[in-house]
Amino acid sequence: MGVDFQSFIEGLTTAIQPMNLLWVLIGGFLGTVVGMLPGLGPATAVAVLIPITFGMDSTSALVLMAAIYYGAMYGGSRSSILLNTPGDGSAIAATFDGYPMTQQGRAGQALTISAIASLIGGTVAIIGFILLAKPLASFALDFGPAEYFLLLVFTLSAIVSLSKGNMVKGFISMSIGLLLSTVGIDLQTGVYRFTFDIPQLSEGIDFLVVIIGVYAVGEVLYNFLNIDDIKKEKSKVGKKGITREQWKSSKWPMFRQGPIGFLIGVLPGAGGSIASMLSYTTEQQLSKNPDKFGKGAIEGVAAPESSNNAASVGAFIPLLTMGIPGSGTTAVILGALIMLGLQPGPLLFENNPDTVWTLVNSMFIGNLFLVVINILLIGLLVRILDTPPKILYPLILVLAFIGTYTLSYSIIDFYILVIFGVIGVVMKLLKFPVAPLILGVIVGSDMEQNFRKSIVAHDNFINILFASPITITLLIMTVLSIAYPFIVEWVKKLKQGRA
C-alpha cells in the first residue's frame, strides 16, 4: 500500500518528544481560543499565530501550525454551538442543531459529541492520509510543468466556483491575487515588473503580509463594524455526559461521515464547508425521523463535526503531496511552509519523510489532546468565550503587527498590512470571496513559472491544454467545476418544474 512503516515509527518517536508534544498542546489551545471568537476562523488563527513558528525547526513549526489549524476548527464549533456565530464556512453546519441544543440547556452534550465526532472523523482521516498520501505523491512525481499549470488552474477554478458569493466576483478576486504575484523582479529574466521604481517592491509583495492583512487586520476591522451588537449569552452548559441512546444514534453518522469528509477534503477547493453541509443533509435524508433535524438532534451535530474535521486532515494531502492548497486556511499554511524553507510537493515525501510522518502522528496526538481539552475544560473555555470580544480583537490586531514586523523587520510592511486590511474589509462588504485572492497571491509565481516552461515545451497555449492525458483530465475537471453551479441551478429548476 505504499505505507512506509519505518518512517511512520520514526515520525512517531519525533512526535512524542516532549517539545513537540508541548507545541501540539500550545497550538491546539491557542487555535481553540482564536477559533472560538465569533467571526474569526482557522485562517485567521493560523495567520496571526504564524510568527510563533519563526525560529523553530521546520518539523516543529509544521506540527504547531497543524495544531493551531485543528484547534481553531474545534474552537469554531464551540462558538457555533454556544453563540450561533460560526467562525468560517466549515462551522456553519454545527449551528443547525448545536445551537438549538444550547437553547434547550444541553450545550454540554453538544460540545461533548462534537469533540468525540471530531476525534473519530480526524482518526478516520489520518488512516486515510497514511494510505493515500504516498501513492499520490509518487503519482505527482510524473507531473511536468503543463500538468502543474493545469492543476493550479483547476484548483483556482474549483475554489472560485465553490466559495460563497458569486463566481464572477470570485474570478475577479482571483485575478487580483495573481496580479499582485507578478509584482517584482521576474525570476527568469530579471525584468522589473510593476515596481513603479519603488525599491521595496522589487522583491515583490510578501504574501504573508497580504495574508495577515486580509485575514487578521481585515477580519478584526470587519468585526469592529458591529462590535456593539455582538451577542453574549450566558448559556448554561448543562451536563456533559451523553446517554447510551444518544451514542447509538450518533455512532454511525460519525463513522459514515468521516471517510466522506476526508475524500471531500482531498479535493482542492471543496474542504470543510462542503463536507459538513453534505454530511448534514445526507444524515438528514438517511434519518428515520428527519423532522428532528434543526431542533437539537444530536446526530445533526455529530455528522458535520466528524466530516468537517476529516476534511481538514484530508486537505493536507494535496497541500503536502503537490503543494496545492485546497482552501484559504491551507493556503495560509502553504505560505508559512514556503517561508520556513519547506517546499511541499512530491519530493517532500522523498526528502523530508520524517517531517511528513511526524506531522501525521502529531495530528493524531493533537486530536486526542483536543478532545481532552474540550471535554474536561469546557467550563474554562466557556469562560474565555465570555471575555468580551472587545478586549480580544484589539489583542489580535496587535499580534498581527508583531507578526508582520518579524517577517522582514521593516515598518514599510505595516503600511502594506493596513492597505490589505482595508481591502479585506471592503471585499467583505461587497461580498467578494477572499480565499481566491489569497490563493492567487500564493500560487501565482509558481503558476507563472510552470506556464512559461510549458509554453517553451509545447509552443503555444492550446498545446499545453492537450499535452497529456493528465492535462486533458484536469481541463475537463476545470470546465466541470466552473459549470457545476449552473448544473445545480438547472437541476433545481427541473425539480421545481416537476413539483
Binding site: P51, L179, V191, R193, I227, L429
Partner: protein, 147 residues
C-alpha cells in the same frame, strides 16, 4: 448608479495593468516577450470578468446600493477612523520609542476606542499586562528581536 463604480474600478485596473504589461521592458535573454505572457493572461481574465460584473450590476441599477451602509451606523465610523489613525501613530512610534511602550500606548488607545472609557482601569491593566507578555514571549522565548 453608485453600484457601477466598483465594476468600473476593476475594469480600469485591468486595462491599466494590460497597458503597463505592454510597456514592460523586453527581456535581453531568451524570448524577449516571455515576462509578458502571464500578466497578459491575468489582465485579460480580469477585464473579461469585470465587464461581466459591470453588466450584472447594470441590470440591478434600480436597486438601492447599500453595501457600505454598515460603515455609517452608530459608533462604527468613529471606531474605524480612530483605529486607522492609531495604527499610523503606532507605525510612527514603533521603531522610535521601542516595541514595549508603543504597544502599551497602541493597545490602551484601541481598548479605549473599542471597549469604552468606563472600564479605564481594566483597559490600562490589560494593555500593560499583554504588552509585557507579548514582548517577553517574542523577544525572550522566541528570539525575535523587537525594537
Amino acid at each position: 448608479m453608485a453600484r457601477l463604480i466598483v465594476p468600473s474600478f476593476f475594469i480600469t485596473i485591468g486595462i491599466v495593468y494590460l497597458v503597463l504589461t505592454f510597456n514592460l521592458p523586453r527581456s535581453r535573454t531568451g524570448d524577449p516577450t516571455a515576462p509578458l505572457y502571464f500578466p497578459l493572461l491575468i489582465g485579460g481574465i480580469l477585464v473579461l470578468f469585470s465587464i461581466i460584473y459591470f453588466v450584472q450590476e447594470w441590470r440591478k441599477r434600480d436597486e438601492k446600493f447599500e453595501a457600505f451602509k454598515a460603515l455609517f451606523v452608530g459608533r462604527t465610523p468613529f471606531i474605524i477612523v480612530s483605529t486607522l489613525i492609531m495604527i499610523f501613530v503606532y507605525t510612527f512610534l514603533f521603531e522610535r520609542i521601542g516595541f514595549l511602550f508603543s504597544t502599551i500606548i497602541f493597545l490602551t488607545a484601541l481598548l479605549f476606542i473599542v471597549n469604552g472609557r468606563k472600564p479605564w482601569i481594566k483597559n490600562i491593566l490589560i494593555s500593560v499586562l499583554f504588552s509585557v507578555v507579548f514582548w517577553y514571549a517574542f523577544s525572550e522565548l522566541l528570539n525575535v528581536s523587537l525594537p
